[in-house]
Amino acid sequence: MKKELFGIYIIWYREIKKFFRDRPRIIGSIAQPAIFLLVLGSGLASSFQIFGGGGGKEFLSFMFPGIIAMTVLFTAFFSAMSIVWDREFGFLKEVLISPVSRTSIVIGKNLGGSTVAMIQGLIILIFAPIIKIQISWMSVLKLIPVTFLVAMSISSIGIALAARLRSMQAFQVLTNFILMPMFFLSGALFPLLNAPEWMKYIAMANPLSYGVDMMRTVVIGSTALQMYPVYLDIAVTAGVVVVMSILGIALFNRED
């Protein structure tokens, strides 16, 4: 048991270490949401004033948690996909041949990627004062575990996918066909309340929708824009973590 905990710890630690060492990645991870928030957000917000119906300011505070979710989504997913990278460069073999169980490897990897994604997601909070959004300290405190849970759900999906992936090319395909639709159909960028019915159904099948919903409720501090009840948000997100982690472990355990 102790052996497994050390295994989980060192796999987690490697992720953290590599994150803080990779400066371009940290800068990039701040720059991308900044562009989304400041350029796209401000642009869209002002366009609402042209087409009538004010609410530009409200749109920004609507979009803000969505951008945090976006950062978490991309970071957690890419972290999980580094497994494919490790496979191509051989390092995965070193991990797989060790006496640490596949279960611990998957858990360590998930916790590592989730921690990094959480840190990156929370960094976005520094933009709040710039675009003049008020967030209470209580909300920030609540946001920490919520962000971590959402990150874990994305990580577990990513790891289960990476378990069977052998090349980085396949990863590109996944990014376009899974990651992007997941992002656009999660309610991160625009409200789903008035969306067409078909889109609402797709959003319901998208695990990220619940994560975004949960993060938005916490950041705004009210249930005004809520899509689903909070217990459902938590249940679905946690459910994804459990189911996809079990799947990921099973896939890693399957040997030729």
């Binding site: 050390f6 060192i10 460069f89 051989g90 390092f91 797989l96 041949i97 060790s98 006496p99 040997e255």
Partner: protein, 328 residues
Amino acid sequence: MEEKLIIEVKNLVKKFKNITAVNDISFTVKKNEIFGFLGPNGAGKTTTINIICTLLKLNSGSVTLCGYDVATEKNRIRNCIGLVFQDPTLDDRLTALENLNFHALLYNVPHRQIKERIDSVLEMVDLLKRKNDLVRTFSGGMKRRLEIARGLIHYPKVLFLDEPTIGLDPQTRNKIWEYIVKLKKTNDITIFLTTHYMEESEICDRIAIMDEGKIIAMDTPDTLKNMIGLDIITIISDDNKKLKDYLKEKFSIDAELTKNNEVRFEVKDSAKFIPYFIRHCHINILSINARKSTLNDVFLSLTGKEIREESANKKDAMRMHMRARARR
């Protein structure tokens, strides 16, 4: 006197779809010996190692290491083996120290000993000064040395080295072999290696020669060489056919015409044979070449082919095959 066995392989078979990579082999490795697998690429050496190391499942037969069964006691086996693969498996964005630390924790090395053990293995492979450098700044030879060091941190009972010198320059190759010999002298360890370099396998205590999934010979390098025990002479002449007949008639030697248009045969003592031969032979000789037999000759006489001639295609075929399989 009965020697202790550390690895026992019985009737091992491994198939990849329609290719039989390992075809019913049996062998044992004794404790504290250097045991080598020699053979062309694609002979099944790596596949066998991967099965012993629990990386691949076997189709039939049985394999035990330190008394543990590969099929049922994977984690126990993983605990007592160290591995150096053909392709590098280091994280090159971490430093040498971090790579070793990672390994030490994965293998549950006692905390108090980690630092000391890391320093001592790094010292052994002359990398102590580069401890805090990123692995990506290392040369190929340094990476291989670091991997050997890493494979030793958890004090494995058996160290597997799969083509430890592949892709390295001759100087570095010699260095690596020096480490391996030193390692065996100073540690209580069994070393299991594969190579397709004949010269290198001569440091082994025992060698198994593999070809097309089978072990075709297994003994000490000297005994294997003595299987031929003769000098090899190759002659190029104006009329090789005639020369061949002449050798048969006069010396009752069964010479062989090679692809390179040479006549090749073995004699007990080339130093005495050649002057006598030259004096009596009336066929015009263009060149004559004599040398001591090597393991390559052993391989040649056992399989009728050079160990290296088809390396490239066979290796590629095997690699492609493995990749294709892996994608599924």
